[in-house]
């Protein structure tokens, strides 16, 4: 315990340096603003910022602090359009509309916004506290993982994604396989031979991760928006009402928020699930537990607080498997993981020992960022509401220009720009054809790690393949993975 406190205070020393403090505040502001915009979510914002952050040669902990702040800042921003316009800014805000919009129509929009700001804060900070308590234990347990167990764990993560995602498993697995293939492009580290480079010098180092991210989450997003011609939403002009909740209202909602923080954290830690499941689960749970008069869904203050709290707690919880095991549970954490890999840093249990300034600096920055966000979102919420009135014609072309400057900034390469466009078309077509993008991103991020671990395990065993399944942990994970993939099909057959 004292070791944890010592690490944490060292983390605050990192998070409170002027540069990192400023980055956390900027990230929180950008995240809220982008989260508030319809059509663009935190994932898009993180994708757009990633190449700039990398090109600026920020130290890794600073890069992670600003990108993470954009991510959880987006969780604060998503609620604004959900409450005021009945338009969820991202999937996890769908549940917020249920009680949030009725409140706004009653003229209690200000109250809904402020109570959810407090809820988001409790969710974010509560999950950070849980993370601080859990992280050392997870890291200790993960030390038992050798190469074979890592391979099994990553296969398990893919299986969860394919089985839980709701899309057709064959398409998820295909997407993952494509991502793995992409990760092999470039010079093989073991033997020095060129793989899939087609004689292109710029591909010797592989396909740049930032290029793929920009393509999939900025260019493809703009293509989708052109297709939908995002209908311009008009702001409801009901009075916001009082914008600070009374102490009694906070106390009335507090038990709900604390439970939602716990639910959100646990759901966020599990790979393959995410903020939208956490929000749904938490709203449903609270309706069962506290809704005695049937007011949930008609503008209950607890009904709007629960999903927003769980949303932010889940975002923070998703950082745990990313940092402790190197397994991202969501698109955004996959991008954050890829960002770490750009610095040649391999996340995992050893990260806690070798680079404590990154792990604990990031954890401490969660607290700092959430305090900034609470301050931004209580008195300054009017500023973000005004962002909603920005016309789409000003917004979406700017995404393209930012995306291209970002890709250019990394390598000054025209080929990278063409690749980003190609991945944009690929991402758009994939979405249309029901091929999910997340397994592909995960395959690209984890591919080298998986291959290296397989080759290391088999080098140790002298080529004996069974070593991959030899330990109980590895075997168990493989069995679980196959169970998740094939159990639903088998059950159907048996019936």
């Amino acid at each position: 315990m004292s070791g944890t406190l010592k690490s944490l205070s060292a983390g605050f020393a990192v998070a409170l340096t002027p540069l990192n403090l400023a980055l956390a505040a900027i990230g929180a502001f950008v995240g809220t603003a982008v989260g508030a915009l319809p059509g663009i979510g935190p994932l898009n914002a993180v994708a757009l910022l990633l190449p700039l952050v990398y090109a600026l040669k920020l130290p890794p902990e600073s890069a992670l602090i600003v990108l993470a702040a954009v991510y959880y800042g987006g969780g604060y921003g998503g609620r604004i359009a959900a409450i005021l316009l009945n338009v969820p800014g991202d999937p996890s805000s769908v549940m917020t509309t249920l009680d949030g919009y009725p409140m706004a129509r009653r003229g209690e929009g200000g109250l809904a916004l402020s109570i959810t700001a407090i809820g988001s804060f409790i969710g974010g900070v509560g999950a950070t506290v849980l993370m601080i308590l859990a992280a050392p234990a997870i890291a200790r347990a993960a030390l038992a993982f050798g190469p074979a167990e890592y391979v099994a764990l990553m296969v398990f993560a893919f299986a969860l994604l394919a089985g839980v995602g709701g899309t057709r498993p064959a398409k998820s697995i295909a997407a993952a396989a494509f991502g793995l293939l992409l990760s092999t492009v470039g010079t093989d580290s073991g033997t020095g031979i060129e793989r899939f480079t087609f004689g292109e010098l710029e591909l010797l180092d592989g396909v740049d991760f930032t290029v793929v991210v920009i393509g999939l989450f900025a260019v493809a997003e703009v293509l989708t928006l052109i297709e939908e011609r995002a209908a311009r939403v008009s702001l409801v002009s009901t009075p916001l009402g009082r914008s600070f909740p009374a102490i009694g209202q906070i106390l009335h909602t507090l038990p709900t928020m604390l439970r939602a923080a716990l639910v959100g954290f646990v759901v966020g830690v599990l790979p393959g699930t995410g903020a939208s499941i956490a929000a749904t689960l938490s709203w449903t749970l609270e309706r069962r537990l506290v809704d005695r008069t049937g007011t949930f869904g008609t503008g209950d203050i607890r009904g709007v607080a629960a999903p927003e709290t769980a949303d932010n707690a889940a975002q923070t919880g998703a950082m745990v498997p990313m940092l402790a095991l190197g397994i991202p549970g969501s698109g955004t954490t996959a991008v954050l993981l890829g960002a770490l890999m750009l610095y040649n840093i391999t996340p995992g249990p050893l990260l806690f020992i070798q680079r404590p300034e990154i792990v604990w600096g990031l954890i401490a920055s969660f607290v700092v960022g959430n305090v900034v966000l609470l301050a931004l979102n209580l008195p300054l919420v009017g500023l973000f509401i005004r962002i909603l009135a920005l016309p789409p014609w000003a917004l979406y072309p700017a995404v393209v220009a930012c995306a291209f400057s970002g890709v250019w900034a990394v390598n000054n390469s025209v080929l990278d720009l063409f690749l980003a466009i190609a991945f944009g078309v690929l991402g758009w077509a994939g979405k249309k054809a029901g091929v999910p993008l997340l397994p592909m991103l995960l395959g690209l991020v984890l591919g080298r790690l998986i291959e290296d671990n397989i080759r290391r395990a088999l080098a140790l065993s002298g080529g004996e393949v069974f070593v991959l399944f030899a330990s109980p942990i590895a075997l168990g994970l493989w069995l679980f993975a196959f169970g998740i993939l094939f159990a639903p099909r088998l059950l159907q057959r048996l019936r």
């Binding site: 090109a55 249309k432 591919g447």
Partner: protein
């Protein structure tokens, strides 16, 4: 139909990847697995999934109208032109054109689009090139 095309594409791309991977010549083996196995296995999985999708297609994909598709093709060509012209013409003129054109596409008035293109490109350039000190291509200006 979509699933049949997707499946066929997956089989072709995966098959090509496997073919390429198997044909690499490895001068010396650093480890028992070598660099060919992993891409070959991933490519095979890709082929198998393609077969599963292509031979048992399910409906559900909804493609946009021809008019919308043409608009998207135009948008992609617009992006390609932006990428190709960025270095020779420079960041400022290309970005101004892209911002203004994009704004028109999303329904801005001509005067709005022109002002937006000029102000937006200068603002971005000032922020990234001057503010963050990340050099952007100067082209005809530099």
């Amino acid at each position: 139909m979509t699933d049949r095309i997707v499946g066929t594409l997956f089989i072709l791309v995966g098959g090509a990847a496997v073919f390429l991977a198997v044909s690499w010549e490895v001068p010396f083996a650093g480890d028992p697995v070598g660099p060919r196995v992993f891409p070959a296995v991933a490519g095979s999985v890709f082929v198998l999934c393609g077969a599963a999708i292509g031979f048992a297609p399910r409906e559900g994909a909804r493609w946009p109208s021809l008019r919308c598709l043409l608009l998207l093709v135009a948008a992609v060509l617009w992006l390609v032109a932006y990428a190709a012209m960025l270095r020779p013409l420079g960041f400022l003129p290309t970005t101004a054109a892209v911002l203004a054109g994009g704004a028109l596409l999303f329904g801005a008035r001509l005067i709005e689009a022109a002002a937006y293109g000029i102000l937006g490109s200068v603002a971005l350039w000032a922020l990234i090139d001057r503010g963050l000190d990340i050099p952007l291509p100067r082209g005809v200006i530099g």
